[in-house]
């Protein structure tokens, strides 16, 4: 088991955001976490990344408890995140953004190799590497956010709403690239509003509702599940 979340409770002050969730991720999987706004998807990712501390429960990475470690240590261990809203460094160049992604890597040759790979995955970033990241289009910024997370050479990549605000064609391209990234051995946890695209890509999925996991299944099964269809896929399963 690469990543295991056991009975995770997270609170913002007096408000409980997660009420004891359990999930696990195997090496090489793509996991989709679905749910409406406020279900606790981003909170889950932030807690895994070490930006939030659990009130109760455990997170294990390769059987080691990690929920008390600071965020910067986790990146070094191989957990990288492309956060919601991209959060790229707008006044820095594309290249500087990518280099920051590799902040924890000391092996220069490895960093250069990863960078070449990212420029292959997203050729537009190579064209714009001296441009300020804030001047990129939304889709390019998303590519930069993913590329930046990959620069850490992660074992597991956490993606928070990579399709947010992008044109459908671009979403398709980005999901195709995510699949390519996965085939190189990077495990992916994907939080998405675009449930259909996410489930088509993922091996397994979790559905969250107000701080709890209400459903867990293989992706195809979730796609076929009438409840999921009605709630997250616009009820089109019967028609297809």
């Amino acid at each position: 088991m690469l990543l295991e979340v056991k009975n995770l409770h997270v609170r913002y002050g007096n408000v409980a955001a997660l009420h004891g969730i359990n999930l696990h991720v195997r090496q090489g999987e793509i996991i989709a976490i679905l749910g409406a706004n406020g279900a606790g998807k981003t909170t889950t990712l932030h807690t895994i990344s070490g930006l939030l501390r659990p009130a109760q429960g455990e997170i294990c990475f390769e059987s080691q408890p990690i929920h008390q470690l600071p965020a910067h240590r986790l990146v070094k261990m191989g957990i990288a995140q492309a956060p919601e809203g991209r959060r790229i460094f707008g006044t820095l160049t594309v290249r500087e953004n990518l280099n920051l992604g590799a902040f924890t890597c000391d092996d220069k040759a490895q960093v250069a190799k990863t960078q070449r790979w990212i420029y292959e995955l997203f050729p537009v970033l190579a064209q714009r590497h001296e441009q300020l990241a804030g001047t990129l289009s939304g889709g390019e910024q998303q590519m930069l956010a993913i590329g930046r997370a990959l620069m850490a050479h992660p074992r597991i990549l956490l993606l928070d709403e990579p399709s947010l605000g992008l044109a459908p064609l671009l979403v398709k391209a980005i999901f195709q690239t995510l699949w390519e990234i996965n085939t190189t051995g990077v495990t992916i946890v994907l939080v998405e509003q675009n449930a259909r695209a996410a489930l088509k890509l993922a091996h397994r999925g979790y559905v969250m509702e107000v701080g709890r996991i209400v459903l867990e299944d293989r992706a195809e099964a979730l796609l076929a599940n009438p409840e999921v269809c009605n709630a997250y896929l616009g009820g089109q399963a019967n028609r297809e």
Partner: protein, 301 residues
């Protein structure tokens, strides 16, 4: 013309000092969004430490003027940097998760504490730098007679600004500082230890502020335990003028403010010196609140 150049170079010397202090304000603001009101007092500590080290260790007698000065500068920088780190630990870190206002009150408290501690140690009177150690020579540059000290101050402050700029722009830790200033959460997701970045900023800023204090002592020959207040306010104005949080902005703002002040004092009235500086602050806040170099590009949502 002669008069003008004298005033201009004087303005550049004072402006260089303002710029060095302003860098401390702007770097701390950049990362923590906090005005470190105790920064002016760290500047004063630089001036007093310089005086004490200069007289008690007799560095210039033992090592010669140039080497002695270099050692003095390094010692003052190091000591004030340590003070800055202690200040961060004691006054700001415990309040990291508290509302912004708590940290501001803590900053003001730290300022009062530092100022009074200095008064208790040295007394409330003006302290005088020994004038027999310092060079009183003047340089003849194309027929202009400029005091050596003034030229040295301009050169040293510009040199330090260049070094800082290169450090911030080109090094790994410099890039980490810039990243943490833009988005702390995202910086942590990159594996940057934000606490270390903050510590770094509280070493660099005070080191530069301490040097500025030493320069004032060397330039004017006398120091007082309250001088950090006026210099701090001027440097704060300079940081706003250039765009708070913007490092080149603090440099440009400092030099510009020094020159404006010097020329205003010379051609209007010396009595208006401080008023001119603060009129600049008011004007910039009205006309261009982001400062001269504030905000290069907006982030797209």
């Amino acid at each position: 013309m002669e008069e003008f150049i004298q005033q201009l170079t004087n303005g550049l010397a004072v402006g260089g000092i303002y710029a060095l202090i302003a860098l401390g304000y702007t770097m701390v603001y950049g990362v923590l969004k906090l005005i470190n009101f105790a920064h002016g007092d760290l500047f004063t500590y630089g001036a007093y430490l310089g005086l004490t080290l200069l007289t008690s260790l007799a560095l210039t007698d033992r090592l010669g003027f140039t080497l002695g000065m270099v050692v003095l500068v390094l010692m003052v920088m190091g000591l004030v940097a340590v003070l800055g780190a202690i200040l961060e630990r004691a006054a700001y870190r415990p309040l990291r998760e508290s509302p912004r206002l708590s940290a501001v009150v803590s900053a003001l408290g730290a300022s009062i504490f530092l100022q009074n501690a200095l008064m208790l140690i040295y007394g409330a009177r003006f302290q005088v730098y020994p004038d027999n150690i310092l060079p009183t020579a003047t340089l003849n540059i194309f027929g202009l007679y400029l005091p050596l000290m003034r030229v040295l101050i301009v050169l040293a402050s510009v040199l330090m600004m260049i070094v800082l700029y290169v450090f911030i722009q080109k090094t790994r830790i410099g890039t980490a500082i810039r990243a943490a200033a833009i988005d702390q959460g995202a910086a942590r997701l990159m594996g940057i230890d934000v606490n270390r970045v903050i510590l770094m900023v509280f070493l660099l800023g005070p080191a530069l502020g301490g040097i500025a204090g030493l320069m004032v002592g060397l330039y004017y020959g006398q120091v007082n335990f309250t001088m950090g207040w006026v210099y701090g306010m001027k440097a704060f104005t300079a940081a706003i003028l250039g765009g708070i949080g913007n490092i080149p902005g603090a440099m440009v703002g400092g030099l510009l403010l020094g020159v404006i002040e010097a020329l205003g004092a010379a051609y209007l009235s010396i009595a208006w010196k401080d008023a001119i500086a603060f009129c600049v602050l008011i004007l910039i806040l009205i006309i261009r609140p982001t400062g001269l170099l504030g905000e290069r590009v907006a982030d797209k949502i």
